[in-house]
């Protein structure tokens, strides 16, 4: 397998605070990789560092054979990385359709492919088609998350970065969204890097997983193995299975 995203020794600072203390991860083509960890571990920081904001102070980030460590954010995104950021961050006053069009800025951009991608997104999330003339901000939380993922998919990404898609959503919606991600990975071979607090669901979905504690990777391995470990269960699953 070819590595799509390689992160080596990345350190990121917020002022004097070292948020990432030398992180190494690999995401191979066609994989779903998850990063779990508690609040403030640095998961979102890592994802944002990959996107170039904040910038890594040391280390290297390579995407698809190109060094993107010092690239401006919008150029990184144009290399076909799509991000569904934390807190969804859809455009609240724009309609669902306009939101999706914004995502298409990263794609080929011609009318035919936009139409095709719209059909794909509406196929994955039929509720978005029903709501396409509605303002993004008036959608429910689950619908907004679907819109955020749909917007990311409109750019035909090679790598989909998902930051806490389960945040604040009902278990049923989380399951629905995760099954869409699984389908995308299986049918289209989409590579996904997923940052999650919901460790159980994330490890169930992913092929491989990383555990981050205080800005460092403490464990990694196949997701099933991580899920079976007692220390993981104790720390992130609290012994019980989360619905």
């Amino acid at each position: 397998m070819k590595p799509l995203l390689t992160v080596r020794g990345v350190e990121t600072y917020y002022g004097a605070i070292r948020a990432l203390k030398g992180v190494d991860i690999d995401v191979f083509e066609g994989e779903i990789v998850t990063m779990i960890g508690s609040n403030g571990a640095g998961k979102t920081t890592l994802m944002n560092t990959v996107c170039g904001d904040p910038r890594a102070r040391s280390g290297r980030i390579v995407f698809d054979g190109r060094d993107i460590t010092a690239m401006p954010t919008h150029e990184i995104m144009r290399l076909s990385i799509a991000q569904s950021p934390e807190g969804r961050r859809i455009f609240p006053r724009m309609t669902v359709y306009e939101n999706l069009l914004m995502g298409a800025l990263l794609g080929p951009g011609d009318d035919a492919s936009i139409k095709e991608d719209l059909a794909t997104v509406f196929g994955l999330f039929p509720v978005l088609e029903r709501r396409q003339g509605q303002r993004g901000g008036t959608l429910s939380g689950g619908e907004q998350q679907m819109l955020a993922i749909g917007r990311a998919l409109m750019g035909r990404p090679k790598l989909l970065l998902l930051d806490e898609p389960s945040l604040g959503l009902a278990p049923l919606i989380v399951r629905q969204i995760f099954s869409v991600i699984r389908d995308l990975n299986r049918t289209q071979g989409l590579t996904v890097f997923l940052v999650e607090q919901n460790a159980f669901h994330a490890l169930k979905l992913a092929h491989r997983g990383y555990v981050m504690v205080n800005g460092q990777i403490t464990m990694s391995g196949p997701a099933a193995e991580l899920l079976a470990r007692d220390d993981i269960k104790a720390a992130y699953l609290e012994g019980g299975v989360h619905a």
Binding site: C51, D53, P72, T73, H74, M77, R78, A82, Q83, S84, P85, R89, I90, F91, P92, R93, M94, T95, Y97, E98, L101, M102, G103, L105, L106, L118, Q132, G133, Q134, R135, G136, G137, T138, S140, G141, Q144, R151, A152, G155, G168
Partner: protein
């Protein structure tokens, strides 16, 4: 329809005796009229005045009668619509179910006819004779009523023309035609109203006549300058969401560009206009660079400072700008090379075989600023549908999300500043050409605040809102000029009231810039975002 479906309420209303229910209300109004007449008769009806040192009594019973009638009608309306003083809690309308449509049509015709009559200066003069000669406030109020009546009549007339034209070419309003004459008339308001406004704007010089014509055209030109500034600032504040409190700086740059180039090199307005826009845009980018990282309040403070810097530089750079004395004898606008002069060959009047009239120049200026403003609007509306315009709006919504969809926020912000500034520069050079004299005094912070007030009052991002707000703010400031400083008080008060009633501005709805299937307007009530 009525023979199959009987309205539930009709049997009840039909069986009730009519008349005695309204009698109470009418009696009440009658008593009010008598009391008001007694009071007004002595206070207003008998006015004492000194004429040539002699005290004389001026009877004004007509005025007293009018005031008493107004009070009685007001009381009647309150009774019927607000207090609903019907014997068993029913409304006035339910008493006359069969006559209602007739009444509505009659009302609409009556109102239109009344407005038309009132718009005839002679008729109005006889109606409000003497009112304007009293306290300036009274004069201003009658002026305002006049203005409101005239503009309502104009809008109704223009909208009727638009509707008639649409019916002739076979277009019918596509929104559901409601019941009632008013609702049917306004069924396609969002589309027809702007066209009606445009018709009025185009026909304005023909609509006015007599001594007030110059004043009307001058005021309209003034309003259009602010409409243009408002539209320019709307790109920066309304679309891109960058709060700019120093917009007047670009207006000043445009004005001084034209003033300096035309006085120093003698270039014509039409050559200087693009240059003024170019220089203003350059300054827009210059301002844009240092404020790229700033948002909200911080951005507002820095842009405000920028506006002041430009003004103070203009004030102190004596050798170039003339300092506080400003620049004098700026060449006036010519009709594509033909000057509007009283004497001489090759003037506008002589070439077209007309008698010289200063009005020619004013009407030409009016159409120039109208064309410039419409150009601004046209370009803005086009840009909104292009990726750059959508990027501006996305920037206003969420900067981080913008980056995650690959928008270059730096160029997006800079183009917003530059294009907004360019239109400010156009307006500025027009201003200089119209005034013939400019000084830093015209470019104070108050101007920035006024333009921003127009944009905010109209509704951020709404092109139509800017027009309405500019007409209200600039128009009323002109109308209330007699009240001197009090008008600023009224100005502030009305702003506060509007912001309480319509916190998102007069036109708070946002028309999506792209549609998949049917075009659909989103009402202002959905503007507030709900998260989660």
């Amino acid at each position: 329809m009525t023979d199959t479906l009987q309205p539930e309420t009709s049997p009840v209303t039909r069986t009730l005796p009519r008349g005695h229910i309204t009698a109470d209300v009418l009696k009440d109004a009658g008593i009010t009229f008598v009391i008001a007449l007694l009071l007004f008769g002595s206070i207003v009806g008998l006015r004492t005045d000194t004429v040539n040192g002699v005290l004389v009594l001026i009877p004004q019973f007509g005025k007293a009668l009018a005031l008493a009638t107004a009070v009685a009608v007001g009381r009647l309306l309150l009774d019927v619509f607000i207090w609903r003083r019907m014997t068993d809690g029913r409304t006035f309308a339910s008493l006359i179910p069969s006559a209602l449509p007739v009444l509505k049509v009659a009302g609409a015709v009556g109102v239109t006819f009344g407005l038309a009559l009132y718009s005839i200066p002679g008729f109005r003069a006889s109606l409000v004779a003497g009112a304007g000669s009293g306290h300036p406030a009274l004069g201003a109020i009658t002026d305002l009523i006049t203005f409101a009546c005239e503009s309502t009549f104009l809008v109704i007339a223009a909208m009727s023309i638009v509707r008639a034209a649409r019916l002739v070419i076979g277009q019918t309003p596509d929104e559901a035609v409601g019941q009632g004459i008013l609702r049917r008339f306004t069924a396609d308001f969002g589309r027809e109203f702007p066209i009606a406004l445009l018709l009025i704007a185009l026909a304005l010089p023909m609509l006015t006549a007599g001594p007030s014509q110059r004043y009307a055209i001058d005021t309209a030109t003034q309003i259009l300058i602010y409409v243009m500034l408002g539209w320019g600032l709307n790109i920066v504040v309304g679309l891109a969401g960058l709060l700019d409190l120093g917009y007047v700086a670009f207006y000043a740059v445009g004005a001084y560009t034209y003033a300096l180039i035309s006085t120093q090199f003698g270039w014509s307005f039409w050559v200087c206009l693009p240059l003024a826009g170019f220089f203003a845009a350059l300054w827009g980018i210059t301002l844009g660079f240092p404020v790229l990282r700033l948002r909200g309040d911080y951005l507002a403070i820095v842009t405000m400072a920028f506006g002041e810097i430009i003004r103070i530089v203009l004030l102190n750079w004596q050798s170039l700008t003339g300092g506080p004395n400003g620049i004098n004898r700026i060449p006036k606008l010519t009709f594509f090379g033909l000057p509007f002069e009283r004497t001489g060959d090759g003037t506008f009047a002589s070439v077209f075989g007309l008698k010289f009239d200063p009005l020619h120049r004013m009407v030409f200026l009016y159409y120039v600023i109208l064309a410039l403003a419409l150009l601004t609007n046209f370009i803005t509306l086009r840009l909104r549908r292009l990726p750059i315009g959508r990027a501006w709006e996305a920037l206003r919504e969420d900067e981080i999300a913008c980056r995650s969809v690959g928008i270059n926020t730096v160029t997006t912000k800079l183009t917003a500043f530059a294009i907004g500034a360019m239109f400010g520069g156009f307006a500025g050079s027009f201003f200089a050409a119209r005034q013939g004299f400019i000084s830093p005094e015209s470019f104070t912070f108050m101007e920035s605040a006024l333009v921003l007030a127009i944009v905010v009052l109209g509704g951020l991002g709404s092109q139509l809102g800017v027009v309405i707000a500019a007409v209200i703010l600039i128009g009323s400031a002109e109308r209330f000029r007699d009240l001197e400083d009090f008008r600023m008080l009224i100005f502030g008060l009305s702003m506060v009231l509007v912001m309480i009633w319509r916190p998102r501005g007069l036109m708070s709805g946002r028309t999506p810039s792209a549609f998949l299937n049917a075009r659909k307007n989103i009402s202002g009530s959905f503007v507030k975002e709900g998260r989660g």
